[in-house]
Structures are given as C-alpha cells and as structure tokens.
Symmetry: C2
Amino acid sequence: MDKQTITIYDVAREADVSMATVSRVVNGNANVKPATRKKVLDVIEKLDYRPNAVARGLASKKTTTVGVIVPDVTNMYFSSLARGIDDVATMYKYNIILTNSDSNSEKEIKVLNTLLSKQVDGIVFMGNEITDKLREEFKRTKTPIVLAGSVDEQNLKPSVNIDYVAAVQEEVKNLIDRGNKRVAFVCGPLEQAINGKFRLEGYKKALKSAGIPYDDKLVFETDDTYKTGTLLQLALMSVNATAAMVTDDELAAGIMNGMSDAGVKVPDKFEIITSNDTKLTEMVRPKMSSITQPLYDIGAVAMRLLTKLMNNEDVNEKNVLLPYGLMKRESTK
Amino acid sequence: MDKQTITIYDVAREADVSMATVSRVVNGNANVKPATRKKVLDVIEKLDYRPNAVARGLASKKTTTVGVIVPDVTNMYFSSLARGIDDVATMYKYNIILTNSDSNSEKEIKVLNTLLSKQVDGIVFMGNEITDKLREEFKRTKTPIVLAGSVDEQNLKPSVNIDYVAAVQEEVKNLIDRGNKRVAFVCGPLEQAINGKFRLEGYKKALKSAGIPYDDKLVFETDDTYKTGTLLQLALMSVNATAAMVTDDELAAGIMNGMSDAGVKVPDKFEIITSNDTKLTEMVRPKMSSITQPLYDIGAVAMRLLTKLMNNEDVNEKNVLLPYGLMKRESTK
DNA sequence: GATTTATTTGAAAACGTTTTCAGTTTGCCG
DNA sequence: CGGCAAACTGAAAACGTTTTCAAATAAATC
C-alpha cells in the first residue's frame, strides 16, 4: 500500500556508499571521512530519511525504551514520580512505555511480561506490594528493574525511597509531644510493606519511646482514596483520636474535609499530618502539614540509576534513601 | 554475553514443525491442525518461549504501540485523559509511549518525530496550540493522529472534545443571570485556540446576549498554574469583578484560595466557576462549581477512534463532541 | 478408487538496521 | 619510491519475526 518509506538502502544508493557507511554517519561513528559524511548527510536531508527504530532495535538489541509500571497515573504521587522518570529518560534519549496496574498483582505481572516482550531496556516499577509471584517474575529476567517510591522487604531489586520509618516516627513523635495522647494511624493496605512494615513500625516506635501502649483500634486500614477519607470522621472520633498520621495526601484531604464538614476544627480539635507532599497539600484549606518527599527526584534518581544498570556501570548503593523533610502547614498546631 | 533467549526457531526445531507453523499458533491463526497446535503449545510452554515484539514489529510493520503526547502528566486534567487512553489502549492490546511536551512546540515536534521513528501505530496528541509547523509535521506522516481534549481551529485531524463555546457561554450566562454585572474571564494562554478562540467566544456571546459590553480589562491571560491563581485576587478586585469564569481547575483553586485568604468570601462576595471538573474541585473548600467534562471518556473515546483509524475502518464523525454538564457546587450562589 | 476440493504445512524471502571482518586508500617515514 | 600503519569503506551475515506461495496431505464427491 505505502512504499513511501526511505530506507538506509535508498540513502546508500543515492549517496553511492554502502549501508554500513550510512549507518556509521547516522550513529555518529568517528571512522568516516568528513567528505563522505557530508555527502551522506546531504542525501539524508534531501531524501528526508528517518531511521527505523524497530529495525535498529532488532539489529542492536537495544530499544532505547524503558517500561514504567505505575498503579495509577491519575494519582498525583505517581504522576510526580512519572514526570521525574520521563524527564531524565528523555535526557538520556529513552522513551517510556507507561502502564497502569491498579496495584493489581495479576495486571502487574501481565504488563511486566508484555514490556519484556517489547524488549524494553529496563523497567522502573512502582507499586508497594511485591508478591512472591511478582518477585519470581523479577528473577526470571535479566532486564534491569528498579523500584521507585516502592519498597520490597526483601530488597531484591535496587530502589529509591525515603526512610519511611524515621519520617513517620519523627512526625508521630511531634504529634505526641504536642500533647496528643491518642494518635491514629490511617493508612493504605497494610499488605503493602510500605505501610504494614515501615510506616507502621515508625508509628509504633514513636509510641514506644513515649511510653504509650499500642492500640490497634487506632490503626485504620483503608484503600487510599479521598472518598474513604471523608467517611472516616465518625470512626476517628469514636476512638477518641485527636490527631492522625495519614499515609496518602488524597486520603488525608478527605479526612480533613470530613472533619471540617462535621464541624471539627482542624487543627484545633484534630491534627492531621500527611505523607506525600503533593501539591494538593497546598490547595486544601487548611493547608496540610506533611512529610516532604522529593517526589520528582525519586523518579529522576530511579531513572538515573536505571540508566547506569542498563549501561552495565556498577552502582555502589543499590537501595537509595533520599532525604525527607517535615513541612509544617496549617493542619497541625 | 547472553544467548539465553529462546526464538521461534528453537520452538520449531523442538516441536518438529516449521517456523511458519509456530508463528501461526502464536498468532491464533485458524489454519493449523489441533494436534500440531497442541504440540507447539506444549513446546512453547516447556521452553518458556516469548515472542520478540521488536522482530514482530519489523516483520509485520505493526508495533501495537501508540504514542501519547501530553503537556504534563502531573496535571490532573491530562492524567485523567491519559488514563482513559491507556485503559482502552490495553483493551485493544496496545501500549502507550507517554511523552511530556510542556506545551513547548519545539519539544512537541521533536517527540512526534521520535515517536514516528519508533514506528508507533498511531498517536494521540494533547496540547492546545497547534502551530503551523506542527501542522506541517502532522501532514508529513500517514500515521493516524487524533487530538484529545485539544482543538485545532483548522480541524486537520480527528479530535474528541466538548463544545467549549456552548459550555462557557452557558455558565457565564448563569453568572450574569444571578446578577453579576462584571464577570471576569481567567484563562490560560490566549494563543491556544481552546482559550483564545472557543472559550473566549462563549464568554463574549454570553455578554452580548445579555447586552453587556465586552471589556478586555476583565480578561486575564495566565499560565494556568495554581500559584498564579493565588496572586490574582487583587487584580480581580481592582476591576470590580464579582465573579470569574476560569479555564483550569488548579488555576481556579488558586484564585479561590487567594480570595479566601484575603478575606473575600466565596461565593458570597465572589463567584467562581471552573472548567475541567477534575477531582480537585471536590477537595477544595468551598467545593468548586464546574463545567463537567467526561475527562476519562475523552481519552477513552479518542483512543477508540484511533484504533479505528489504525484499522482503516472508516469513521463517520471525525470531530467528536462529547456532552458536557454543569455541576453546581459551593463556589457559586 | 479416482478426482476434486479443502485443509495444513514448510521454504524462503522479506522487514530495515547494525556489526564484523576483510579489503582499500591514504599518509607518513626513511 | 617502497613499505607500513592508520584511516576508511563495503559485503554480507546477523537480528527474530511474518507472510507468500507452492506443495503435501486429508476430506469429500461421485
């Protein structure tokens, strides 16, 4: 139907050189006489030749494409990471194939495999529950994989994160120090190591060093959505919580609005700290105090790490922890 | 280094059939005897064979990958569209290469070309300023392109949108009917046809039919960011505006918070209507009234349209307008 | 059972590059 | 100039599929 496309062969013929030479000039190989280079370049220009990346990928076994698996791009936390990833990806001449997994283990495995069949040069994975099956799939491939903003308790793969334990511990300590005896811990699925293992541990540690007994009535496991947050006000009140450490910004916004709508003043009657410092924290009233994470940077560093892995450079630190901070805004006293 | 990969040839040998036959069973071609099919399938299973999509792409000239060009995934408006796109893409067995353009025409052209060189089967483009140069690039390729949530005044390419003129006109009319004599129009870059041509036209029409003269002091051209919104309060007050029609949710949130922070009660002293109905409208207090757009659907329909184009099916309506709505929340009286 | 027709199969040529290896030129030196 | 190294260049073999076309086999018809 369309035999319009110009191939390297056409260029070679027209420039009266071999395909090899054309390939060399296209790839910036030094071993080509300036005169021939120019000749070829002119023909390329004239014919409007564009290399076919698929053929190139087949021949060179490099696609300059990396896969990105994300629970949901619609979530600001992940879109921020994704943006950081894409920026350094393009900086290194890669493109990203973006896939949404909905945190569904089956889908994760499925897209992982289609990404591999598409011969991506590497993968950055986001998603906090690394199931055994997924880990098996990870092991099956030699394609480099790095986790971004996602922890695997077994540290099978390189990763970029912050120190969730310390961050939560510090914030909960602050809450306690300000006089809150009953601090709730509102989180996403505890199955996810980031919640059930790390953040919860920080929470417990803070309680312990303050001599407060752990009460699992104060732990609320949710699905991480705004909507759910809005419905939590009553439950939180009924256990006499006066503050909450929340693991997701949208969830936290929901809780806060639920409180406000029910007439519970934030922060006077109820303090809230959230975890991701997305721009949502600033848009909401009162503005939410938050653990600050360099979201964009986590993505960017993860991608940078991946480029090294893809290049077979050796990396000294496989599990990077980026610095976190604590941003006091208006949802805490 | 790694000669681990199983090819179709290995399967053929092991199953004692030809590569053609293996290819047929992999592709679900009907013309293969059940017995051989099973034999091949067993070998595939045993060898853990996975087709190489790159080779497949070269041979078949189909990559089952589409390019998505978006100003910024971090913007909820676009991430919602992107999600719709990805969902129907995977439904039709495509993957998406996602690229951020920052609405920068040069970058748009650049990524467009790298997407084409990667032989994507189609492209969905988001970004509201279609420059002549970009249009030229669009014309250069036979790869189908559709615009999602993005208008081109010249209607060069198929697109999926809502009727921005009518939507804005209707909302501004409501504002006027409620007694607002001075309604501001706060928008992103007027160069973008969606603002400078369509929405502005709706605004003007509404004024006209209410017999109110158009006053360009009431038109505020911005960069569409939250931050800018927060800084607009004074300017809006100084032109005695009592309401604003805003073209972006984050921008609107900024304006509203700017107002609230300055002690101007919304909606009592100032009414605000926004345009994109992202989930932000619900998270902010007061909740923002908005034109509702089926964001996810716009993406989904655009992608569906693209599949048809890629399939050479003919489509009856090239420029789809999806229904919009008006959602009254708390930022209007 | 001989034909005819339909169903399955395989050989080999694409697809558009990169890359290896051997050959040609060129430049330099004595 | 002759000889040798260095700089360029080209032929052809990959890369791992799909696809075409003809051949082989099986099924159906009379």
